[in-house]
Amino acid sequence: MNEPISFFSGFGPKDLWFLAQAAWQTLIISVLSISAGTVLGIFFGWILSESKIAGAITLGFVLDAFRSVPLIIQLVLFYNLFNVVGLAMNPFWAGVIILGVYTSALVANVARGGIEAVGAPMRRAGRSLGLSYLQTMQHVVWPIGLRAVFPSWVGVALGVLKDSALVSVLGHPELLKVARDLITRTQQPLLVLAVAGAFYFALSYPISRYAAHLERKWQS
């Protein structure tokens, strides 16, 4: 090798590739936890909407707790709990699971809102046509209710995308962790931050614009 090896070296094309890979990690973590969290959250939301009192004081309370404690605390807490009870797992999966449960708590609220937005008269109309409970759910409540809360769901998903940065506290090399390491090595914080920021922006901004566009379209 001709290049002198030094601990500090400038930001090179290779580092851009590191950041791109890290952004890919961020995307994977987000997609996995958002998908799992959405399925789980819709299920929870359905339970909340169907079993008003019992649901609110048990499941509702637990989900509310997930929304009222900082995610970073939850990450450290549960990561250590997994270790304590002997379910040690790598930071990636621990991050996905914790982030997924956190997402489900947010989605449950949104989904319940959607289901309840489809009022009783509309359901009765469905049932009066001879549809079964499940058919009414499938053909009336879901399409109308979920569409009504789709923009809120996008908001949740974008929030989780950004919150995935916190998985870095467990040591997984997602975008912000790698950026931080690169800053230490290259001593070019502005450049590294700008690139990392651009990656986040590129992931988040188009989706938020698209959601706003859909919302406008559906309103008219």
Binding site: I73, Q74, V76, S164, S204, Y205
Partner: protein, 221 residues
């Protein structure tokens, strides 16, 4: 499976006063970032709606960056980013500025929505009674905007309290930072973070309770 870990809560309880004191720091930095954030958010919203082009553009860049990048990224900007210019803020200021930047960005969008929700005709009615532009805004428009954004503002305050826990990463010892410092000294990580989670939960509930009380006293219509 090994279940050899035994929980030790007593050391944590002994440090509870420290944790509670640190939670006051959390509240202080969150509330302060909120107050400055409200003022800046109002300015950003007005600039975006009818400021001169370059200022409106800067306001938009601020709002979109705050909303489309992680809060932790924003904190990094105020630590490493400003460091590049030879500005080394104390951990407290990094957290305060980071939270304020984020709050202002989100609140600006809330305020913008609030202003758009008050019909133009309210301004006309006020002006037709001989009120000046200033009187119309302070007496008629802004009180109505305030009511519309009250709940989003409460949510943002809760969010600021939760977000302030990122201070742990930049080395500021509010509740999360203090917890981390104590936890890693004693290796009672789970116990410390469990107690801290409870304290955060209590803080959020207290804030929401007070906010509801204020709303009930204030908004009689």
């Amino acid at each position: 499976m090994n279940f050899e870990y035994t929980f030790h809560w007593r050391p944590v309880m002994r440090k509870l006063p420290d944790l509670l004191e640190a939670s006051l720091v959390t509240l202080q930095v969150s509330v302060l970032s909120m107050i400055i954030g409200i003022v800046l958010g109002l300015v950003l919203a007005l600039l975006r709606m009818n400021g001169p082009k370059p200022l409106a553009w800067i306001a938009s860049a601020w709002v979109e960056t705050a909303r489309n990048t992680p809060a932790l990224f924003q904190l990094f900007f105020f630590s490493f980013g400003l460091g590049a210019f030879g500005m080394h803020l104390t951990p407290y200021l990094i957290v305060l500025f980071g939270l304020t930047f984020n709050n202002a960005g989100y609140l600006a969008e809330n305020f913008r929505g609030g202003f758009q929700a008050v019909p133009d005709t309210q301004l006309r009615a006020a002006r037709s009674l001989g009120m000046s532009a200033w009187q119309s805004y302070t007496r008629i428009i802004i009180p109505q905007v305030f009511r519309i954004v009250y709940h989003p503002m409460t949510n943002q305050l809760v969010w600021a309290v939760l977000m302030s826990s990122l201070a742990m990463i930049v080395g500021f010892r509010e509740l999360a930072g203090e917890t981390q410092a104590l936890a890693f000294k004693t290796f009672r990580i789970f116990e410390y973070f469990a107690v801290t989670a409870l304290i955060y939960y209590a803080m959020v509930k207290i804030i929401l309770g007070i906010s509801r009380l204020i709303a009930w006293r204030m908004f009689r219509y």
